[in-house]
């Protein structure tokens, strides 16, 4: 066997591909499903928290800040293990799927809240005053005047952060969620061949390269706002 044949046999073996592509596809589907759920719920929760924070109730804001700091400081895998292995012993049994979704949603919400909040703060005070002077309530001003401007400024950092957290769906492997990486490692150990891992890697590339690329374009398009 030549070197290149051996390489192909290790990472691109045709039989293995043929046998395991349905599993890989199933994993990809689960990964996409969790990713979409995490992105939608995480961003929505983050936005709600940022709105809540803008009302500046002292005690509420303290809670929000502690929540954010905790989720920024703790590795998601630690949270996943605590919930997955700890909760059943106190009578709350959550599936790996739910634990993964919950943890990643909370983590994304924490980061998104910080970013939205920075965006809200960056809208000039004059915008608030102008809107309030036309009789708009605080909430209406926030929704129709401040947030549309704030969100525009947050798109770039938000995209990057969202991608980074969505990739953490791979952590599901550790608690047996049937997502892409889990399917691939399982297939790899059955097949005794690295091809499934290569398939998973390619699947991740197909999934995330467009998003990474879009994120880069958005960043460039909005870069002038920072200066």
């Amino acid at each position: 066997m030549t070197r290149s044949e051996r390489f192909i046999d290790t990472f691109f073996k045709y039989d293995v591909m043929q046998q395991y592509w349905p599993d890989i596809l199933k994993g990809l589907f689960v990964t996409c499903q969790i990713a979409v759920l995490v992105v939608v719920c995480g961003l929505a929760l983050g936005l709600c928290l940022a709105i809540l924070r803008s009302y500046r109730f002292r005690l509420v804001n303290l809670c929000i800040i502690v929540f954010i700091d905790l989720l920024r400081a703790l590795p998601p895998l630690v949270l996943i293990l605590i919930l997955y292995f700890g909760l059943p012993n106190v009578g709350v049994s959550l599936s790996g799927y739910v634990v993964l979704w919950l943890v990643l949603t909370l983590v994304l919400a924490a980061f998104a809240e910080e970013i939205f909040w920075a965006g809200i703060l960056s809208v000039p005070q004059g915008q608030w005053q102008a809107a309030r002077s036309t009789g708009m309530s605080y909430f209406k001003t926030l929704i129709y005047v401040v947030l549309p401007q704030a969100i525009r400024m947050t798109i770039a950092p938000l995209t990057n952060r969202t991608i980074a957290i969505t990739k953490n769906t791979a952590l599901g492997m550790v608690i047996g969620v049937g997502e892409l990486l889990n399917q691939a490692t399982t297939a790899q150990s059955f097949a005794g061949n690295a091809t499934p891992l290569m398939m998973a890697t390619i699947a991740y590339l197909i999934l995330f390269i467009p998003v990474v690329y879009a994120g880069r374009r958005i960043e460039q398009a909005y870069a002038w706002r920072k200066r």
Binding site: Q127, Q129, A130, M136, K140, P148, Q149
Partner: protein, 249 residues
């Protein structure tokens, strides 16, 4: 027939505004009648802008009363949003919403505060843009408009709610000199239409020709008030004289 006596629409009574030890307003009393243009002048930090901002409750006065059309707007439980609708405000820095067109800026409050339909709001909005001579710019975004045009849109935005009184906070200070004229022209037109206006500005020539009352303020107090002829040509107070001399340089 009796001659119609203009009614006072704005009464400011012994207004105080303190920030800690600093007295931004120190007992200001002022009255404006329907259709009058009151012009506030004074050195920076004299409290002119604070007074305007109190009249819209963007600042909360420490004590005193402000009556608009007989209603005390400094009451604690008053519905601020209802009050503010009746008092138009124009800012030095325009504060147009950058993510909306001129039309969007003018119609937002009509739709979201007054609950008018889009069609109805646009009818009113376009009429107000017409009034400031910008109906052909209705679909432009603020960054596509000159400073003078932006300020005129801001005036239209305030007018759309049919306020009883309009407050102008240095409306031309942020403009290049060649753009000041178009804004003043709109303001003069408003005055002719019978709008009650309170203006903080440094445009003394405009004050001389358009104002009914000129009020000179310093250190949070009204030093001297009267018709323009008195303030500009025969000021009584020493401080007024000094200020005007300074302003002419």
């Amino acid at each position: 027939m009796f001659p119609v006596q203009p009614l006072p629409i704005l009464n400011v009574e012994d207004l105080h505004l303190h920030y800690g030890d600093m007295k931004a307003l120190d007992g200001v009393t002022l009255e404006a009648k329907t259709g009058e243009l009151t012009f506030l002048i004074g050195p920076s930090g004299s409290g002119k802008s604070s007074l305007l901002r109190c009249c819209n409750r963007l600042e909360d006065p420490s004590s005193g009363r402000i009556l608009v059309d007989g209603e005390d707007i400094t009451q604690r439980n008053i519905n601020l949003n209802r009050i503010r609708r009746g008092i138009g405000m124009v800012f030095q820095s325009f504060n147009l919403y950058p993510h909306m067109t001129a039309k969007g800026n003018v119609t937002l409050a009509l739709r979201k505060v007054l609950g008018k339909s889009r069609k109805e709001a646009e009818e009113i909005g376009l009429a107000q843009l017409e009034r400031v001579g910008l109906v052909d710019r209705a679909d432009h975004y603020p960054n596509q408009l000159s400073g003078g045009q932006q300020q005129r849109v801001a005036i239209a935005r305030a007018l759309a709610l049919e306020p009883k009184i309009m407050l102008f906070d240095e409306p031309t200070s942020a403009l290049d000199p060649e753009l000041v004229g178009e804004v003043l022209k709109v303001m003069r037109q408003l005055k002719e239409d019978g709008m009650t206006m309170v203006v903080v500005s440094h445009e003394m020539r405009f004050a001389k020709s358009a104002a009914d009352h000129v009020v000179f303020m310093a250190e949070g107090k009204i030093v001297e008030a009267g018709p323009p002829a008195q303030i500009f040509d025969a000021p009584r107070a020493e401080r007024t004289r000094a200020f005007l001399q300074e302003a002419h340089h």
